[in-house]
């Protein structure tokens, strides 16, 4: 009897496990040879001849890599070196986030990936001619993450000129950001260092370190070779002293002397590095100076990597899908203005944006990652805080092709009427259709103003007759827009959305980066998400639970009394 029960249970578990695994598995792909794999899976982007000119390439930026020049961004090898086979295998396996280069981990077997590595190497003769295997970067001196290290890295970030491209705090908004092009002359936006999930080569500290030491060959990002480090050949203390002296308006005689000595040491080390680069044999003493200098450079690069790591959240935020909806929090008082500390107490909801490729003209290469949203409401009003990163502050530029005015903008979309029930029709997610949507349209050229629109289609939007119901504040700092909008929950205007606590309201976004050519339908967008004025938690929660606990105590005592009485009766 007992055995039978156990057997029954075991069968149930067995069924459960088999059922779940049958879903999780994928059959391995049949193995084909390199050329075949390449022509099937890669040629439409990278071109049959490996020139990066496949049929899909026209619409893409960054462009698919041209394999004929042997320039690879993601390597474990030093500046100017070719990648190792393992590097190529890994990048094919993992893909390049933030670009259209997909991961092939599930679509191609490991065997096929090795075959295709061998094949793409045939496009560049340098691989055949290379006599020695490429020199790999030594990772052994890793400096552990610490506040101290981050501080040191931060100073280097300015000293090395990262700021000019990547901006003050890394949002890719440096002054030269809009003008960068890669080896092939294509626009090349500096990475937004606060979004590690879009790094081509991964955002582990080791990955970032390798990118500095080895450079991203072919890109606009320079390689930071040893002697480009300020104070090359000096110890950390010496180099900060050198900078300190440089920054003085007036030096004493002793300080002049000290500075001259430091420069002498620096120049000597740079000379040695140049000689080495030209192939000159170094004396033992020179080699020693060079090795010491490089040790300092490596250490500094680890600090820099730690600093970059400190700029980004640990992982990409979860999108506001499912139950993770945008909840506006109730407060009794006046709603906080844009720069109020109260906003810091809320956790933002993350709405990732994708290129609008549903309606012509399309945006295939978005530059805005996401919009983050927070919200408070009180008895009469609701306030939203929108933030999004944009490398450039564009208010009035002319598109060369179309002559249209380009500028940065954001639109927040609601239905005019909230659909009643889960199956009720919503307006079309892209600015409505048969059913209209209600929009807040903000533009960088009029930063204190939001226009209310009613739209029945992406090309069919109209400014409402009644404006001025919205209170607006906005700023652009360090590559990030912040927009604050406040409105009454209920308005007189029939074309406005009316808000009520506890009602789930569809919400969607569009954004434009003028510097990326975004205008009209060419933009980034989301599909429908959900927003709710979170009701104040019911006070029932303080009544029923204690009541139930009390009842259970009563029940237990009652049961005991019952059993006792019965026992005594039996006796």
């Amino acid at each position: 009897m007992r055995i039978r029960t156990v057997a029954l249970l075991l069968t149930l578990f067995g069924m459960l496990i088999v059922f779940n695994f049958a879903h999780a598995q994928n059959a391995p792909e049949a193995s084909e040879k390199g050329k075949e794999v390449y022509e099937n899976s890669c040629a439409h982007c990278h071109g049959t001849e490996g020139r990066g000119d496949g049929s899909a390439a026209e619409n893409l930026l960054p462009k698919p890599r041209d394999f004929t020049r042997g320039l690879y961004k993601i390597r474990s090898t030093g500046t100017g070196e070719l990648p190792t086979d393992q590097d190529l295998f890994d990048i094919i396996t993992e893909g390049m986030p933030g670009s259209s280069m997909p991961p092939w981990d599930t679509a191609l077997s490991a065997n096929d990936r090795w075959e295709v590595v061998a094949y793409i190497k045939t496009f560049y003769d340098g691989f055949k001619e290379a006599e020695t295997s490429p020199k790999q970067i030594n990772l052994s001196g890793k400096v552990a993450y610490s506040e101290q290290s981050v501080e040191t890295g931060k100073a280097l970030y300015t000293e090395l000129g990262c700021v000019e491209c990547h901006g003050n705090i890394g949002r890719g908004d440096g002054t030269s950001a809009p003008d960068l092009t890669d080896e092939w002359g294509f626009q090349s936006w500096p990475a937004n260092l606060t979004q590690g999930w879009n790094f081509r080569g991964g955002s582990d500290t080791e990955d970032i370190f390798k990118r500095f030491i080895g450079g991203l060959a072919g890109s606009a990002m320079p390689a930071f070779e040893g002697d480009s480090f300020p104070g090359f050949g000096l110890t950390a203390e010496e180099s900060s002293r050198m900078i300190e002296l440089d920054n003085k308006d007036e030096m004493t005689e002793a300080e002049e002397e000290e500075s001259a000595q430091l420069y002498e040491k620096y120049d000597a080390a740079v000379d040695i590095a140049l000689n080495l680069a030209e192939g000159t044999e170094l004396s033992a003493e020179e080699q020693q100076i060079y090795d010491d200098a490089m040790r300092v450079v490596y250490e500094k690069s680890w600090h820099l990597a730690n600093y970059v790591k400190s700029l980004m959240p640990e992982k990409r935020p979860e999108p506001a899908i499912g139950n993770n909806v945008l909840r506006s929090q109730y407060i009794q008082d006046e709603l906080p203005p844009m720069d109020d500390a109260a906003w810091g107490t809320l956790e933002a909801r993350y709405f990732p944006l994708v290129g609008q490729i549903v309606i012509e003209p399309r945006q295939f290469n978005p530059t805005i990652d996401a919009v983050n949203v927070k919200s408070f409401y009180n008895d009469t009003e609701v306030a939203f805080l929108f933030t999004w990163d944009d490398r450039t502050h564009t208010t009035d530029e002319t598109d060369e092709e179309t002559g249209k005015t380009l500028e940065d903008a954001l639109a927040v979309q609601f239905p005019v009427k909230v659909p009643q029930g889960p199956t009720a029709p919503k307006p079309y997610f892209l600015w409505g259709g048969r059913l209209p949507v209600y929009l807040w349209h903000w533009k960088a050229s009029a930063p204190e103003q939001v226009t209310e629109l009613t739209a029945k289609g992406i090309n069919n939007a109209e400014a409402q007759a009644a404006q001025g119901e919205l209170h607006v504040q906005s700023t652009y700092t360090n590559g990030q827009y912040t927009l604050w909008v406040k409105r009454a929950l209920k308005t007189e205007d029939k074309k406005d959305l009316q808000l009520e606590p506890g009602v789930f309201v569809p919400i969607a976004f569009s954004a434009w980066d003028g510097a990326n050519g975004d205008v009209d339908t060419k933009r980034v967008m989301t599909s429908w998400y959900t927003f709710v004025l979170e009701p104040v938690p019911s006070s029932k929660r303080f009544i029923y639970p204690p009541l139930i606990a009390l009842l259970s105590v009563g029940f237990l005592f009652g049961l005991r009394a019952f059993v006792q009485r019965r026992n005594s009766e039996e006796i």
Binding site: F13, P535, R541, S552
Partner: protein, 258 residues
């Protein structure tokens, strides 16, 4: 060692199964099981236990003995004290967590494959009835392999200039724009898709896109574009050839069971 009482064994089985389902299968083997499925399995196990103990009177007596003992006997006084505090506390916590839970948005039910219209059209031009229209280039597969390849190749170009952003390089619905669209783009590598539909159905879906769906398919949510505005009829038929050629799945032909 003291022999475990029947009640303890049942308790161990019950708690053990829950831990196994929730943490071993769901955590270590990492096949997360939805709460409702766990509840179903736990229900089955409780029924199995009840059946087991109620088969013979002696088993039932044995099962309830420790319960009765704990309720009244002096030697169990300490157990009793602990339980009279623990049980109400657990109930308190549980009811609080249920009442204080935030309301979540209702899921929107969606029929991913609602019935198509009877007539297949391109823009406003009628092509034929949904049942009868076939891919005009399909016959090349047998008649003229070279022409067939050219059409597949053209379909591949169309796909990689227009579709892979959403449907993925591998046609698996995992394009680089895909993860943030709701509903997700279709996965053509799913064996339940291509073999279940005629090519005319795909022509309809591609030509009319998300907005062309009937209400059951929630046309307002789908990011699937209307391709008749951008692609020619031939291009649509070619991309359909490419979809089945690349995945290796055959479209259903009229007359086969749905």
């Amino acid at each position: 060692m003291k022999k475990l009482s029947l009640f303890t064994i049942c308790l161990i089985i019950l708690v053990g199964s829950w831990v196994f389902l929730r943490f071993v299968v769901g955590g270590i083997i990492s096949v997360p099981i939805p709460g409702s499925v766990i509840a179903m399995y736990m229900g089955l196990i409780i029924i199995a236990i009840l059946v087991h103990i109620s088969v013979e009177d002696s088993l039932f007596q044995e099962f309830r003995r420790p319960i009765l003992e704990t309720l009244v006997e002096d030697k169990r006084r300490n157990h009793r004290r602990v339980l009279v505090v623990l049980i109400p506390l657990l109930l308190l916590g549980y009811t609080y967590s249920i009442i204080a839970q935030r309301a979540n948005p209702p899921g929107s039910p969606r029929d991913a494959h609602p019935s198509p219209p009877l007539e297949l059209t391109y823009k406003d031009e009628v092509i034929g009835t949904m049942q009868d229209v076939v891919n005009p280039f399909r016959h090349y597969e047998k008649d003229d392999p070279e022409a067939f390849s050219a059409h597949v190749e053209n379909g591949k170009r169309v796909y990689h200039q227009n579709c892979f952003y959403c449907h993925g390089d591998h046609l698996d619905g995992q394009g680089h724009f895909a993860p943030y669209l709701q509903p997700l783009p279709a996965n053509f590598q799913d064996p339940g898709i291509i073999p279940n539909f005629q090519e005319s159905f795909f022509f309809w879906r591609i030509a009319k896109g998300g907005p062309g769906l009937p209400a059951a398919g929630t046309p307002w949510d789908s990011a699937m574009p209307i391709w008749e505005n951008t692609l020619t009829q031939d291009e649509i038929w070619d991309v359909i050839l490419f979809l089945s050629h690349y995945t290796g799945y055959q479209f259903r032909t009229f007359g086969e069971a749905h």
